[in-house]
Symmetry: C3
Amino acid sequence: MRLFPKEIDFFEIFDTASVNLTKAASILVALMENFTDIDRKAKEIYEVEQEGDILTHDIMKKLNKTFITPIDREDLHALASSLDDVLDLIWGAADRMSVFKLKESTPEATVMAKNLLMTAEVIHKAIHMLKEKNYSHMQEYCIEINRLENRMDRDFRDALAKLFDDYKNDPVLIIKWKEIYEHLEDASDKCEDVANVLEAIVLKHA
Amino acid sequence: MRLFPKEIDFFEIFDTASVNLTKAASILVALMENFTDIDRKAKEIYEVEQEGDILTHDIMKKLNKTFITPIDREDLHALASSLDDVLDLIWGAADRMSVFKLKESTPEATVMAKNLLMTAEVIHKAIHMLKEKNYSHMQEYCIEINRLENRMDRDFRDALAKLFDDYKNDPVLIIKWKEIYEHLEDASDKCEDVANVLEAIVLKHA
Amino acid sequence: MRLFPKEIDFFEIFDTASVNLTKAASILVALMENFTDIDRKAKEIYEVEQEGDILTHDIMKKLNKTFITPIDREDLHALASSLDDVLDLIWGAADRMSVFKLKESTPEATVMAKNLLMTAEVIHKAIHMLKEKNYSHMQEYCIEINRLENRMDRDFRDALAKLFDDYKNDPVLIIKWKEIYEHLEDASDKCEDVANVLEAIVLKHA
């Protein structure tokens, strides 16, 4: 047990985790926009996801070993856990593209992937502000994440409606894309969880 | 940070949240029973859900700003969060009816929606007892919520069996209704989460 | 409130809960391997699941009634809750076999059920070590659970790919098996949650 941990540690790992998340989201956009080399791009996202697992494990270990944490322990735990969930779901979406042997993407999937990338970038900025203890900017970024999540809700809804319209005679394709869209929408929900933890931290410190 | 918050605040907001939940469930029953004006009724549930979001946000904010809470902070947090989940899932079910452009309801969906309404009403009573610190009545209502959830499990199972029997040649319709039934069943599961938090509060105070 | 609870209580109940889990997983393997008497075997799993519910409820009650717990309260809570989730999902998988009136199993389902049984057995050993306060052995078992979960991920992925290949002209069968595979995969994810809680306990006590 370390009574006086170097505070910077946690923030640095969270910063790296959010950079990692942005990287995964940006490969996902590349995969959806330009439907070539799917297996290679999926493998790249897999490697980023594995990297994320190591970071999460590292945070959890440090949390359990450290007596006093700069931010409430349960908030750091929830933050690590929800960042990990977003990354898992991005990987899950990319992996399904490969497992389902899809031949092309849809404009809806590209829109949703771009939304996720934007959200990941805002999460990265918010976590940077956490390190800087700039709580008012953090708050603004959280509002922005919630705004992007609401947009994702609408985009998911539209994608679902279009899917059932376009492929009413191809139920197997409906099953496949519905699952991918759900992964992207779930990823966005988990981004909202990230924002909720960050907002709780702001409220406790502002 | 307020050291001595007005205790009544939290209970009042939870009471309003549970009234709100009952309202959403009752519009859902109306929607399933009488399959007209789907978009209008879905919109009404959406507005109730938005109202619920504001209440949840308000509770979370007060929780993070208040030093001493009348009930363990994590229990109040879990209660707000599970009430919010139930409402989200009711809205999700209604929204899918509209997105999937369904032409009619099923008797199974009506039964499940009515179950949810009954559960929401018992939750409202249990939360009222929380405010009154009447823990023995709370306990009874929790048992009733669990009983209703078990019934929902059976109703969901029957609905699923009937769905696969009735529409074996219409896989797209199976996909659509399966998703709606799952939303209703998930909503009921989250009601059980509400009951679990309320029971934990009873055990700590009885 | 009991200030000095008999420590042994919690460990004994968790031990029983993990034996119970192993029993459910082993009936699931029997069900998948030898596709006869489905309803009877599903009913047996149901009874084990009901038994598990009673154990979970007992743990939660004792946790809420006990002032000092041998292990952090929230860890015991999370452990009980994730063991319960695994059991629920095993029961869910078995129940769907019966509700969907499937005529035969798949080799993939058998492989996944066997994985789950192996994982349940390792969980049982890890929980036995918790009682013995043998944290280094616990740690090894946690690594083993994670290894089995990674294998389950790959098996699930392969099962999904094969399902969409084999039944591309039978979307209803895809819907049915996809749901069962997902239950098995979710059960394995919840086993990982069990391992994560156990690892957190190791880190705090080692």
